[in-house]
């Protein structure tokens, strides 16, 4: 009986000793010694760092042109153009905030986010709970493989498939026409555009969104269910008192992330359909940036709109995280 503890103790001691020795030796090393030891590892990080510097951080710094009347023709390259362009302070922002088209795009974006929070957000949760209640592993994995798949399709393909199924010459219209009905306009109707893009988003990503919830469900201790059942809780009460609380922290986390992304509803989906439904319905902040900046070549205004979006995004995510802490959840980072 007493043998196992005796055997375990020396092992623990050895482990502790080992760790201590390591830490001490590391602290004693000088900078040069550490450099000599670690330079291969540092070198390995270098290509990735260089790529991010050129294609991420330099463009991020380039947002400064939001405060310029950027003119690409005053120099031979963008850098010279940047150096010689005129500084105008908040001029671009003033212009932006006076433009109704910009505010329209902000309002469209926010209403799409709100709409999707109500009609899209719960679907992966419901799907995960439903799938988790299916007991046959074979059916479960079959359904999973099928619903994950559209996540790997491009937006062009998703919109094309919708066009082919629901568009004016699509399968639905074709069937209705053969049956003698007039097919409704689905792909080009600005009034129902919100439903259309939400159903596209659901088709593409609801299955994939389920993955996190399934993982959280798998982590729930089955004995909780057993105990609840022993106390007489039926199927629905178990779902209400065990399954959903088990998902709570994941739900809060994803809600925060969604709120932080409130101005980020996706770009390709809207560029692709802007022509079909008209500008009023499909202009989001991202497409506004694109058309102002690159198509109309008002670089400074476009950059200002992009910077505004990024700044609001950071504020939203920090605010939402604070809110999560108030509700006693962990959020993205714990407050400490």
């Amino acid at each position: 009986m007493s043998a196992p503890p005796v055997a375990a103790e020396p092992q623990v001691a050895v482990k502790k000793a080992k760790k201590k020795v390591k830490v001490v030796s590391r602290q004693q090393l000088s900078f040069g010694q550490r450099l000599r030891r670690d330079w291969p590892l540092l070198l390995m990080c270098f290509p990735a760092m260089a790529l991010l510097l050129v294609f991420h951080y330099i463009p991020a710094l380039g947002n400064i042109i939001a405060f310029q009347d950027y003119n690409p023709f005053v120099g031979d390259n963008p850098l010279e153009a940047f150096l010689y362009s005129e500084w105008i302070g908040f001029g671009n922002f003033e212009y932006l905030f006076k433009t109704s088209a910009f505010w329209d795009s902000v309002i469209t974006t926010l209403s799409i986010t709100a709409f999707q929070l109500v009609f899209y957000f719960p679907i992966p949760i419901a799907l995960a709970v439903l799938l988790n209640s299916v007991l046959s592993p074979r059916i479960r994995s079959l359904v999973q493989s099928v619903v994950y798949l559209p996540h790997f399709f491009s937006w062009v393909l998703v919109v094309s498939l919708f066009q082919m199924m629901l568009g004016g010459a699509g399968l639905l219209a074709q069937t209705l026409r053969q049956a003698g009905y007039t097919p409704p306009e689905i792909m080009t109707n600005p009034d129902t555009f919100m439903f259309l893009i939400t159903s596209q988003a659901i088709w593409k990503d609801a299955g994939w969104g389920m993955i996190v919830f399934l993982a959280a469900l798998a982590a729930i201790d089955p004995s909780l269910y057993e105990a609840a059942a022993a106390d007489g809780a039926g199927r629905w009460r178990r779902m209400w008192h065990i399954t959903l609380p088990g998902l709570r922290s994941v739900i809060v986390l994803l809600l925060i992330l969604r709120l932080g992304d409130a101005l980020n509803v996706g770009f390709e989906q809207f560029v692709l359909q802007r022509e079909m439904v008209g500008r009023e319905a499909a202009e989001v902040v991202d497409t506004y940036v694109y058309y102002q900046g690159i198509a109309v070549q008002q670089w400074g205004v476009g950059a200002a709109a992009g910077l505004f979006k990024a700044a609001v995004g950071i504020l939203l995510i920090v605010g939402a995280n604070k809110l999560a802490h108030r509700f006693g959840e962990q959020g993205i980072y714990s407050k400490r």
């Binding site: 670690d38 050129v54 294609f55 359904v143 493989s145 790997f152 082919m164 199924m165 996190v212 390709e268």
Partner: protein
Amino acid sequence: MSADTVVRPRRNTLRPVWEEQPSLLGQFGKGTILTLVVAVVVVPLWVVVVTSLSSEKTINDAGGYVFLPREFNPSAYVVIFSGGQITDAILVSTIVTLAGTALSLVVTVLAAYGLSRPGTLGHRPILFYFLLTFLIYPGMIPSYLVVTGLGLKDNLLSLILPTAISAFNLVVLRAFFMSIPGELYDSARMDGAGELRILTRIVLPLSKAVTAVVGLFYAVGYWNAFFNAILYIDRNDLQPVQRVLQQFILAGQSPASSGASVAIPGLGSTVPPSLAIKMAVVVVTVVPALIIYPFVQRHFTKGVIIGAVKG
């Protein structure tokens, strides 16, 4: 009696003992919903594939899209692979995807390994440098100016380099590398292996699954590249598949009539491409994902959850 003993053990492995019998209505409801969900994904793909393999006559008889297959007619595929804009696009996308995925994987694996040993000189600030990309992101306009300023307009590198590294994938790989027991590293070092040899001989073979998932994520990104192509690629012969799909299906433009492109052999330059050819293009844009997917799919949960939990 004997039938009972055969059935029971199987049932017990599926359903916990304390669970009550499922109601008939519940079973039926679940079955219906799941069938619907699966059908919503599968039916459009099915229709596209069947139509792409149909002849002009079958398509006309059906009045458009074909639901029930009546023949196997690969002529649409012969047409799109025998030269012209679509063949070019397929080539471009294949090259971008292969080269890009290779570059991304090498760079990400190296960096993830370099950061996987806590206590390395400067490893905290470097990690912070990578993580900061989640919060600070480059605007569309400055990115455009930088890429064009580097002279990458109408260069396939513009479809590769800006998206070559994703900090998310880096974090996923790093988390997995860190979960490999330190004793393995130590023993390899005792045997005189350098860092690169440890990476290729010990770490990578142990993390095939995660690396495959990350590779799939990168490959899908490159294959689906659409927006960067709008921004940076003007030349017709350098357009990737997604752009052709857009011009073809959504803008309703026929590749035969679009300026510099070569007429499709066997159709003549004035004949608009038939529905079967359009559908064949759609199939071509889906197929690569369908091919890699089954090999990688079983690792998804593992890869994604490591990233989500330890990130």
